[in-house]
């Protein structure tokens, strides 16, 4: 299997605190990898290390299977944090800076990219006068300069209106499908992320606490069994030994079982026969947001 990004024990320590702690991820080529986490969880720091903006304290990075990071980073387009543009220049002039920087001889590429992200009609308007959504689009155009093979996008939907969000989503999906671009993106709009991502990683306080595919998420979200008992600790041990280890314990003590869903009656009987009072047992559904919220408090 060919990977666009592989990290092993990647760690960044700021003032004695680990912003990213021993994170090991493998992002396959062609994937859209959704990076989820609260503010300050370490998503941006992780992305900054991939892009060469921050030096890892420990750990290794491989990009497209290579340790020659400077060379491989030519194949990356990124937007990290707020839109990084020259405010006194127009959209075309901003792109011209990077066309020259990357040694691209064709000036046509500037016009193509400006049109591609829907900024073809802004004329001589300076970037400082752009709305946040327009700045985000310009940043995406800058990231696409040089036809990268990997896009790293930190909150690319920030500031976009619903139409803009859809346009960026369609754009990213088209790039992924038509050009096989690998995309690593973080977003707080989890519903939006779930419409694009093929893989997910959840980072919490610098630690990667879960990594799963879109299929696994769908499986987990579509069907589960939510059980409310008087002794979650005892029930957890009983379930793990007698039924399945594929369950979560939420912060409020609710057990969420992801398989053996057709054995609800048997599970109920097992719990009751072992002296555990079951006050609720019902099939449930989750979306990515609910799954993420559960994960933040209730690690398996």
């Amino acid at each position: 299997m060919e990977y666009a990004v592989q990290t092993r024990d990647l760690t960044k320590v700021f003032a004695g605190r680990s912003a990213v702690n021993r994170v090991s991820v493998s992002i396959r080529q062609g994937d859209i990898y959704g990076f989820i986490g609260e503010n300050g969880a370490g998503k941006t720091t992780f992305m900054r290390m991939l892009c060469g903006l921050a030096r890892p304290t420990r750990g290794t990075i491989q990009i497209f299977g290579s340790d020659e990071l400077e060379k491989q980073r030519r194949r990356i387009g990124c937007t990290i944090e707020s839109p990084a543009i020259y405010p006194a220049l127009t959209a075309e002039e901003n792109l011209e800076v990077y066309r020259i920087l990357l040694g691209i001889s064709s000036k046509e590429v500037v016009l193509q990219l400006v049109g591609f992200v829907g900024l073809g009609n802004v004329g001589k308007k300076k970037a400082r006068d752009f709305s946040l959504g327009m700045k985000q689009r310009l940043m995406i155009a800058i990231a696409l300069m040089g036809s990268p093979d990997l896009l790293i996008l930190d909150e690319p939907m920030n500031g976009l209106d619903p139409m803009g969000i859809k346009e960026v989503r369609d754009l990213l999906l088209a790039l992924n499908k038509e050009k096989g671009l690998t995309i690593l993106l973080s977003s707080h709009i989890l519903d939006e992320l779930s419409r694009m991502a093929t893989c997910y990683g959840i980072i919490h306080e610098g630690n990667l606490i879960d990594e799963f595919s879109a299929e696994a998420l769908e499986q987990r979200c579509r069907n589960n069994l939510r059980i409310v008992v008087d002794d979650p600790h005892k029930a957890k041990e009983l379930l793990a030994t007698a039924v399945s280890s594929n369950f979560d314990v939420l912060p409020d003590g609710v057990l969420v079982v992801y398989d053996h869903l057709d054995e609800a009656a048997a599970i109920n009987q097992l719990l009751v026969s072992n002296g555990i009072a079951v006050s609720a047992l019902a099939p449930g559904e989750q979306n990515l947001e609910a799954y993420f919220m559960d994960k933040m408090g209730g690690k398996r």
Binding site: G52, L53, C78, E81, V97, Y98, G146
Partner: protein
């Protein structure tokens, strides 16, 4: 490296601050020329004639180069040009493309250095034109090609040293406001502090000899003190090379925000 330099030149060509500072450098020479002329006229015919016998375009240049006006404008321009890359976040775009950081630093330094030399040239040309129109280029034949070249080249080297120092400070601080403040202090206030410090140290050493501005003042003449040119060149090269090496190493290890 060539592409990085070309990209930096494109940004320079689009930088309004560069053209404003360039115009101010030229305007400064014009303003000082006319200010001297008006001062001469106000003194009356006998005093005025005595002053006019000593003045020329070259003397005007000596007078203006000895002042900290030019380094102050250079400090403002370099601070804006370099620190704004961090303020706008655009340095991230360049570094994340995998370009060698030392090459990025050297390209930035090269373009800033050439911009500073362009501003210096604008000032010199304006001083020569205004001075020649008002009093003549060198009506009493005091200058030789050699000492004019020594004046211009040594001052140019010292201004380049200032540019290297300003680039270092701007990349280190990464804040437009802080960079302008520190760089202006380096060109304007630091020489005064050195003079004050010299009272404490005593006469055994002249601290301003080891600072760029002290040498700029010492060499802003067609007849410098013996050894002053060599000292100026050594100080200029020391700051130019020292700032470049230190800045490159600093930038290589720096996290970009």
């Amino acid at each position: 490296m060539i592409d990085i330099i070309r990209s930096e030149f494109y940004k320079l060509a689009k930088a309004r601050s560069f053209f404003i500072c360039l115009a101010l450098c030229a305007a400064l020479a014009v303003f000082l020329g006319f200010a001297i002329q008006m001062g001469v006229a106000a003194r009356g015919s006998s005093d005025g004639a005595a002053i006019l016998s000593d003045i020329s375009a070259l003397v005007l240049l000596e007078q203006t180069l000895g002042q900290p006006f030019l380094p102050t404008l250079f400090a403002i321009f370099v601070s804006l040009f370099v620190s704004s890359e961090f303020h706008n976040g655009t340095m991230k775009n360049c570094v994340s493309k995998g370009f060698n950081r030392i090459q990025i630093y050297l390209a930035k330094l090269l373009v800033c250095g050439l911009a500073v030399l362009a501003m210096y040239a604008a000032h010199v040309i304006a001083a020569f034109i205004v001075g020649s129109v008002l009093w003549g280029f060198d009506p009493y034949g005091l200058a030789t090609v050699s000492n004019v070249a020594t004046l211009l080249l040594s001052e140019g080297l010292l201004f380049l040293a200032y540019a290297a120092l300003f680039v270092l400070v701007s990349l280190w601080l990464r804040s437009v406001g802080a960079s302008i403040a520190v760089n202006i202090c380096a060109s304007y206030l630091f020489p005064t502090l050195l003079m004050a410090a010299n009272y404490i140290v005593g006469d055994t050493v002249t601290l301003s000899d080891y600072w760029i501005s002290g040498n700029i003042s010492a060499l802003a003449t067609l007849s410098p003190e013996p050894g002053a040119v060599v000292q100026g060149i050594v100080v200029g090269l020391a700051y130019l090379i020292g700032s470049t090496v230190l800045g490159s190493l600093l930038f290589r290890r720096q996290d970009i925000r």
